[in-house]
């Protein structure tokens, strides 16, 4: 396969220059090697529309990245940088534009600095969360890395894609926790942001903004440069961890429960990632609902707001909602914070409380095996139990893809979103969950995360793609937008961020044309296409 718009001679010349830059063994052109860059969870798997690479090149240093980018710019070869290439569910290692050459940065796996005094790190893109954790563990440093569910991802790649984790809010928003980056631009120039722009500064990982416009955000979910280093703030190892659960009795209590939770989080009282649940409805991390509840939910006119269900919960004394709040900090302080949280939640008539887990840190080896690891900064791949074969799931999937809209952080929005998405699921013939509660990764907004299975059956994938696109539209009609999505849907999602005749996208395109006039870097990523392809792909 040739990159689009590139003739065989230019491609061959460019590949030769890539080989001179990085070494012949690190330029991959055989079908067998290039196939390793397919998105294993592609919703187009095996179809002509599947996004596939033409080749891959794997530099080992910043200078090699610069050389490759200069060559690509000279020959107008589209390139697609990846870090560890494990953004599964959101695109993996495959490009947006078929025929692009994947710029595989996995070999750039140096941990350049971890400061126990400043609680920060500076890493290259090929470093995984496992790598950074092991580095810290081996040296017995008293800092925690905030990890996403799959630990083989890259802090650089995950934060650039706006990924999240589980520790204190300022760390679990991974892009927010970064401090300073180094970027190779499309002409091969090298840029450092923040204090990194000041030669000799010792504060690159201490002060984000440097001087003048803060441009770091422009390199996230974008295609304006190739990030080759990133700094991160790490969480000091806390003394202890504590959880407590509040239950409230009535369906109508959800709104007040969430408002109190938001107050506690925005005030810094509860600083772990909370968990919402419903003892009567069951579901994630809870026992399944009683058969009579399932019957009430599924019958015509039934649903979570049915008076019959509310009466059932009252008669049985089953609380309608629960909220588990979590705390990191000194043992005395977090016990006091839990006490204060109980006082606040007591404003809801009938609220009850239950002490949860308490750990003095660090964890003992026994405790290590029992906990949800990311909540303790421990990377893991346990999340891949989703969809994998198991005694209860004899027919495994071939992966998954996430539909993940941001909704307001209110009880009203949670109820409305459930109504809207349940109806949509019925309309599209998708499995209808009895009720979904949002994830609480971000402090100021909720996020719903629905998984679509990926199969190797073309008809099923096609149906799911159509449903996915309709869900994007339905969400947008209600003011809910995706926070992140796979390449297959990036145009559709960007199209919904359309205020004032797509002023935001038009701005992105203006920037793209200025900083990458040949449009070589990640064409189409997050809906941003270079001028020569604009209008042909959306």
């Amino acid at each position: 396969m040739l990159p689009p718009g590139v003739n065989q001679k230019d491609f061959s010349d460019a590949l030769k220059q890539f080989e001179e830059a990085v070494g012949k063994e690190w330029v991959f052109t055989s079908d067998e090697d290039v196939a390793l860059y397919r998105d294993a969870y592609s919703p187009f798997w095996g179809e002509p529309e599947e996004r596939v690479a033409s080749a891959a090149v794997a530099p080992n240093t910043v200078e090699e990245v610069q050389a490759v980018v200069r060559t690509a710019n000279e020959y107008k070869i589209p390139i697609y940088p990846i870090s560890t290439g494990r953004n599964l569910g959101y695109g993996g290692s495959a490009p947006n534009l078929s025929g692009s050459v994947v710029l595989d940065l996995k070999r750039m796996n140096r941990i350049l600095d971890v400061s126990e005094r400043n609680h920060s790190a500076l890493v290259e893109p090929g470093v995984s969360y496992f790598d950074l954790y092991r580095y810290i563990y081996d040296r017995k440093l008293k800092v925690w890395v905030d990890v996403p569910d799959p630990g083989w991802g890259s802090p650089v790649g995950n934060s650039l894609d706006h990924g999240g984790g589980y520790l204190q809010p300022m760390y679990r928003n991974h892009f927010d926790s970064h401090c300073g980056m180094e970027v190779v631009l499309a002409n091969g120039d090298l840029l450092r942001t923040g204090m990194g722009a000041l030669p000799g500064a010792k504060t690159w990982q201490q002060y984000k903004f440097g001087f003048g416009p803060w441009i770091d955000g422009m390199f996230s979910q974008s295609n304006f440069g190739v990030v080759t280093k990133m700094g991160f703030w790490l969480m000091p190892e806390p003394d202890a961890y504590l959880t407590g659960t509040v239950t409230v009795p009535r369906y109508e209590d959800l709104t007040q429960m969430i408002d109190i939770l938001t107050l506690l989080e925005n005030s810094g009282i509860s600083n772990g990632m909370p968990g919402l649940g419903s003892p009567v409805l069951g579901g994630f991390m809870m026992p399944p609902p009683a058969p009579e509840v399932t019957a009430m939910l599924s019958k015509p006119g039934g649903g979570v707001d049915s008076p019959e269900l509310h009466q059932y919960a009252r008669d049985k004394g089953i609380p309608f909602w629960s909220c588990t709040v979590k705390f990191y900090g000194p043992a005395k302080a977090i016990r006091a914070e839990w006490e204060y949280a109980q006082e606040k939640f007591s404003a809801i008539a009938g609220a009850k409380f239950k002490d949860g887990e308490f750990y003095k840190l660090p964890l003992t080896p026994d405790q290590f095996d029992k906990v949800h690891k990311p909540e303790f900064g421990l990377p893991s791949l346990e999340t891949f139990s989703i969809g994998a074969r198991s005694p209860t799931n004899p027919n495994p999937t071939n992966g998954h893809i996430w539909f993940s809209p941001i909704i307001p952080r209110t009880g009203e929005a949670v109820l409305e979103a459930n109504k809207v998405f349940s109806q949509a699921a019925r309309d599209f013939g998708l499995p209808v969950l009895s009720f979904s509660l949002p994830s609480t990764y971000w402090m100021r907004a909720f996020i719903f995360i629905f998984g679509f299975p990926i199969t190797h059956d073309i008809a099923t994938n096609k149906k799911n793609r159509e449903s996915f696109k309709k869900l994007i539209q339905i969400a947008a009609e209600h003011g809910w937008g995706e926070y992140r999505t796979a390449p297959a849907y990036q145009d559709a999602v960007m199209d919904t961020y359309s205020f004032n005749n797509h002023a935001l996208l038009r701005f992105h395109e203006t920037v793209k044309d200025a900083v990458d006039p040949n449009g070589i870097i990640s064409a189409g990523r997050y809906g941003i296409w270079p001028k020569h392809l604009r209008g042909t792909k959306a």
Binding site: G92, K106, G126, P379, F384, S385, G387, R389, N393, G399
Partner: protein
């Protein structure tokens, strides 16, 4: 029968060719890349347990029937939710060592 002989021959070639240094290297590759999902109680192990229902060990390190071509195929092709691994992750040399390590208990190869 021909197929069995062929597999036996392959196993013998790969296992007998593996020296201690290669096996040690393979063990390291396994610990780094495979254990996070194929360690005790983890999703890869649960999946293999559900697949073989006791007919074969769920833990890859306990398997006695693996031959290098099988290991290499799964690493480079993936299966179910397990994606393939690129050569920048597991190089061909590392994969040779990994495959030899996982074939070390193959009794057919040790006859």
């Amino acid at each position: 029968m021909k197929c069995i002989l062929f597999i036996w021959a392959l196993a013998a070639v790969y296992a007998f060719g593996a020296d201690q240094a290669t096996l040690q290297k393979g063990e390291k590759v396994y610990a780094y890349w495979c254990t996070p999902c194929h360690g005790p109680g983890l999703p890869g192990t649960v999946a293999l347990g559900a697949k073989y229902k006791g007919a074969k060990p769920a833990l890859l390190v306990d398997r006695t029937d693996l031959i290098p071509p099988v290991t290499k195929t799964f690493v480079r092709k993936g299966v179910s939710v397990m994606p393939p691994f690129r050569k920048t992750e597991i190089s061909d040399a590392d994969l040779d060592a990994l495959a030899a390590y996982l074939a070390r208990n193959n009794k057919v190869a040790k006859r």
